[in-house]
């Protein structure tokens, strides 16, 4: 079933999500979020090239939370602590929506140029009595300040590079999971997730796992409710030519 989703240019994952919900004229609830989950994921997949690399991780986090919410509805016992933490996505999105609406009003105020002005400040030189050196400023202080200015620039100058490195691709995760299954044959979900360092890595791991399940590379089994989920290799040979589709 070919689907085309038309959304305006979007600024970030919450913006995209909000546009999808508002286009469907839905209120922001858990249920409406799961309704647009597939569209969101499809959109991110299709638009991956246009999303700035430093923002891709942010999109993945939201994608994972949506997919997680959806799978929780199907498999209520499928619980991940990392993804359960924090305010729910609906609350976050409602808040974002309020600020977006307020920003439209601010934009109107900005553009009507109903501006206040302070007094113009006197032309510089008319006030220059004489050279007024700053007390306590020495060459060593200048050196120190210059070093601080330079150090502060480091992150700015390197942002694109660092952000690119921050993006953990699903493919990497799939490869990692595959490697570990080759070595151990079996693995538990907690065990797999236990190695992640932050939330974005957790969600990407989760997405990678779902992908492998969907493509029947691995099987997952849960013997009892509340028990950990076991991941087992099903057809690891397929891993080589797997084209991850995100979900």
């Amino acid at each position: 079933m070919p689907v085309t989703y038309k959304v305006d240019k979007f600024e970030g994952p919450l913006d995209l999500l909000l546009q999808l919900i508002e286009r469907e004229e839905l209120d922001i609830t858990e249920v409406s979020l799961t309704k647009v989950a597939d569209q969101f994921v499809a959109y991110v997949r299709k638009q991956q090239d246009k999303i700035l690399p430093e923002e891709l991780a942010d999109f993945l986090v939201i994608a994972a939370r949506l997919v997680y919410m959806k799978s929780r509805m199907l498999l209520p016992e499928f619980l991940d602590q990392e993804l359960e933490e924090g305010p729910d996505l609906a609350t976050q999105l409602r808040l974002y929506q309020q600020f977006v609406h307020a920003s439209h009003e601010i934009n109107r105020m900005w553009n009507r140029s109903h501006v206040s002005f302070p007094r113009e400040r006197k032309p510089v030189r008319s006030l220059t009595a004489a050279f007024a050196p700053p007390p306590g400023v020495t060459v060593d202080i200048l050196r120190e300040v210059m070093q601080i200015v330079i150090d502060r620039l480091a992150p700015v100058a390197k942002i694109p590079e660092a952000a690119l490195k921050r993006v953990i691709t699903i493919q990497d995760k799939i490869r990692e999971l595959g490697d570990r299954l080759r070595k151990h044959a079996k693995l538990t979900f907690a065990n797999f997730m236990g190695r992640v360092r932050d939330k974005s890595e957790a969600v990407v791991s989760f997405l990678a796992l779902l992908e492998l399940v969907k493509q029947r590379v691995v099987t997952v089994e849960q013997k009892d409710m509340f028990e950990d989920i076991e991941i087992a290799a099903h057809d690891l040979d397929r891993l080589a030519d797997l084209q991850p589709e995100f979900v």
Binding site: A102, E105, H114, V115, S116
Partner: protein
């Protein structure tokens, strides 16, 4: 000649200084308490009611500005340095800071759901956002500037539509509470990077 009133002194300072003054500095200059200054500012505000000038506040700073209804006329005699349209991300960040500031960068990002360091830097370069002297959890905190507020023709951020509602919003508290107070250390970051790029 009678001793000038405190209102009158503060008026002279704000008028001649032609820049924002903190309430504290005004108190020092006039040799009175902070409370005296606050009261005098209220009195001054009343005196100015039917004039072309008003007191504008941003945080604990005050300055004199013309009332917005004179914008067209005044624009002909002074230069406005901060013109131009605002992009969507700029607007979002400014709105969040105006209603909910001062905030740290992670706090802004938590609300916007997207990286905001570049947009903050751009806004600071345009003079619409400033880094405050103090910090929170080791992070610098940001707020909107006088220039931004006066460009909207407001006396202060509390003149924004639905200010109390948006500022006091419980959702904001919940969303911000979720912020991890401990970002990855440098070493951890380097380690994570290494693993990711192999």
């Amino acid at each position: 000649m009678a001793t000038p009133s405190l209102e009158s002194k503060i008026e002279a300072v704000l008028f001649a200084g032609a820049r924002p003054f903190t309430v504290k500095r005004l108190a020092e200059l006039c040799e009175v308490s902070l409370k005296d200054v606050e009261e005098a500012l209220d009195g001054l505000e009343k005196q100015l009611e039917n004039t072309a000038v008003m007191i504008q506040r941003a945080g604990n700073e005050v300055q004199f500005v013309t009332r917005p209804e004179h914008a067209k006329l005044v624009q002909q005699v002074v230069r406005d340095e901060i013109m131009g349209e605002l992009s969507r991300p700029s607007l979002e960040a400014l709105t969040i800071l105006a209603y909910r500031g001062p905030l740290t960068r992670p706090e802004i990002e938590q609300i916007r759901g997207v990286h905001s360091s570049i947009i903050l830097r751009n806004l600071m370069m345009r003079g619409l956002v400033e880094e405050k002297e103090d910090s929170r959890l080791g992070q610098p905190i940001y707020s909107v500037t006088f220039d931004f507020i006066r460009h909207l023709g407001l006396k202060g951020v509390d003149g924004l539509p639905d200010y109390d509602e948006l500022r006091g919003n419980q959702n904001v508290e919940d969303v911000l509470k979720d912020l991890d107070p401990e970002p990855l250390t440098k070493a951890e970051n380097a380690e994570a990077t290494k693993r990711m790029t192999v």
